[in-house]
Amino acid sequence: MGKTLLDKVWEEHTVRTLPDGRTQLLIGTHLIHEVTSPQAFGMVRDLGLKVLYPHRTFATVDHIVPTDQAQEPFSDPLADAMVKELRKNCAETGVTFFDLPTGKQGIVHIVGPEQGITQPGTTIACGDSHTSTHGAFGAIAFGIGTSQVRDVLATQTMAIGKPKVRRINVDGKLAPGVYAKDVILHIIRKLGVNGGIGYAYEYGGSTFDAFTQEERMTVCNMSIEGGARVGYVNPDETTFEYLKGRPYSPQGAEWDKAVARWKAVASDKDAVYDDVVNFRAEEILPTVTWGITPGQAVFINESIPDPKDLPEKDRDTAAEAIEHMKLPAGTPVEGIKVDVAFLGSCTNGRLSDLQEVAKHLKGRKVDPTVKAIVVPGSQVVASIAEKMGLAEIFREAGFEWRGAGCSMCLGMNPDKLVGDQLSASSSNRNFKGRQGSPTGRTMLMSPLMVAAAALTGKVSDARKVFGIK
């Protein structure tokens, strides 16, 4: 009987079974940021413990960084204190810190892959639920709480039960103008925001085989929005090609040995899954959310559903969403007025996202009623995009070109919605208040759909706006 990648990685990283039945699981790579780590360092100190393997933890600063201010001190003293705290903790313990002046700072889930720290067959943990992103490389990557950050700092392990595995196949060719973001929004819409509880999602099929590494990251990133703490894609040549030559990737003779190990860690052909779900790529259209959970999504040619037409279990949340969004049931999503367009985040703030939008944006202008910002996911992304002339294209079109950070994804820095502004956002969560204003409204969509909304001032079908056929 064949094994899944999860089986193999779990087996290799199992230290022992704890008295409560959970696994003491070795975490090969630990990523930290300023929001969920300071208390953990404090707890390690209070317990008289030390950071066991400082060279296996990597830090950066992302959530609280103002994207319109490069110089410290930051105008927000709380944010300033958090950066200083992380700097101090890293210096004291010997943890590598991709700090603001390094030119390598950025969103933790963008920095790990671009530095080559994220590798197949590894276990990765980070105090952030979007750690599932790293599964795109065939790593088993978990979002964890601060007490577990403490556990990993002090013991390089954590206590966790082994999840079941659901194989999600997407086969076929996506139509032009349909992206990885649409694929994951569609999967969540169909399987539910709690459908993945207790599961790791293994994504595969010909659509995934054809995806670039960055497209796979977009899908794995949002696994948690479907309730799955872990999402992964089996590593292949696309993965190896992406990793080759990156700063932390194995070099020389070590590279070949690593690739051999990485190939062996992929799920066996006859692997046994706890569940299998199949989708066809051709059935997926540009998708946007209309409510307050990422599962409340429709295709661009659909309307906001009437709660009474939904399954009973979904009706209350739908009614709550309609009240919050101030958009009545039956409203076609195409044409909804947009106030803000946000392009960025750990879901869609990578170079390929910016390239795809810039390609179509050239010579066009943002609607004057829209505040449009583009936030590169890392300083490296920003620097390359500037050299390639992408920044200039965005600026000329009327986007604000910002510095790297989480920005308007989560309302922990100056980039926030105001009042009940409606945002077309390439991020991952449309929860009430998520973008920094308690009454703010978020519609999630692909980067190109965000650009289409920015240009037209309303939710639009990017295929029509940009003449994509």
Binding site: L18, P38, G143, S147
Partner: protein, 203 residues
């Protein structure tokens, strides 16, 4: 480190209705600009409370009938979204000692268990009945009993089955819910495992 054995939690309940109550709702991100968890309790559900007030309604946590409640009752997928431990920390500091819901998001569930907050599942029908009962008699004392996997309410004949994974129930009952001591006990095994895994052994 010696931890309390959590066999049962007794207290007044409060029902916060709704499914998919996410951790941003439990503690909005702007309150996470802190380097300790102290003081988070007062901000639990801050925006949800304000929104209800603005709509001319009363959030259950603003309803004085439920003051002092220590058991939170809610719907399905409670605690979804962000992994922020600030969410269960805020609930704990607010005074909650147990959560009853139809289902829980995984990271929230694990974070809560580590803090010694039992999160137990109950059927929708039983949650509806329990909520109605509390609404009628807010002073009713609710007991979450982990030894017998049930919830009972004093003075009335309410009993309902609950479920909680054994991997959480056992450590709560045995006073090992914070796993750090167990993990530290395994450090020799950790070092051996690190030495056996190529990408970790090589430096």
């Amino acid at each position: 480190m010696s931890l309390a054995k959590i066999t049962q939690v007794t207290g007044r309940g409060v029902h916060i209705p709704g499914d998919d109550i996410d951790t941003d709702r439990i503690i909005p991100a702007r309150f996470m600009k802190c380097v300790t968890f102290d003081g988070l309790g007062e901000f639990a559900f801050a925006d949800a409370k304000a929104a209800e007030k603005a709509a001319g309604r009363l959030h259950p946590l603003d309803d004085s009938r439920f003051d002092g409640a220590t058991i939170l009752i809610s719907g399905s997928n409670f605690g979804c979204g962000s992994s922020r431990e600030h969410a269960p920390q805020a609930l704990y500091r607010y005074g909650f000692r147990a959560v009853i819901a139809e289902s829980f998001a995984e990271i929230f569930f694990g974070n809560s268990t580590t803090l010694g907050i039992p999160c137990v599942k109950m059927s929708k029908q039983d949650i509806d009945d329990l909520s109605a009962l509390i609404d009628k008699t807010p002073s009713a004392l609710v007991t979450v009993d982990l030894t017998e996997n049930k919830v009972t309410v004093d003075d009335v004949a309410f009993t309902a089955a609950i479920s909680i994974p054994e991997q959480a129930r056992k450590p709560l009952l045995e006073g090992r819910w914070d796993s750090i001591a167990d993990l530290v006990d395994g450090l020799e095994d950790v070092k051996a495992r690190v030495a056996a895994i190529p990408y970790l052994a090589a430096r």
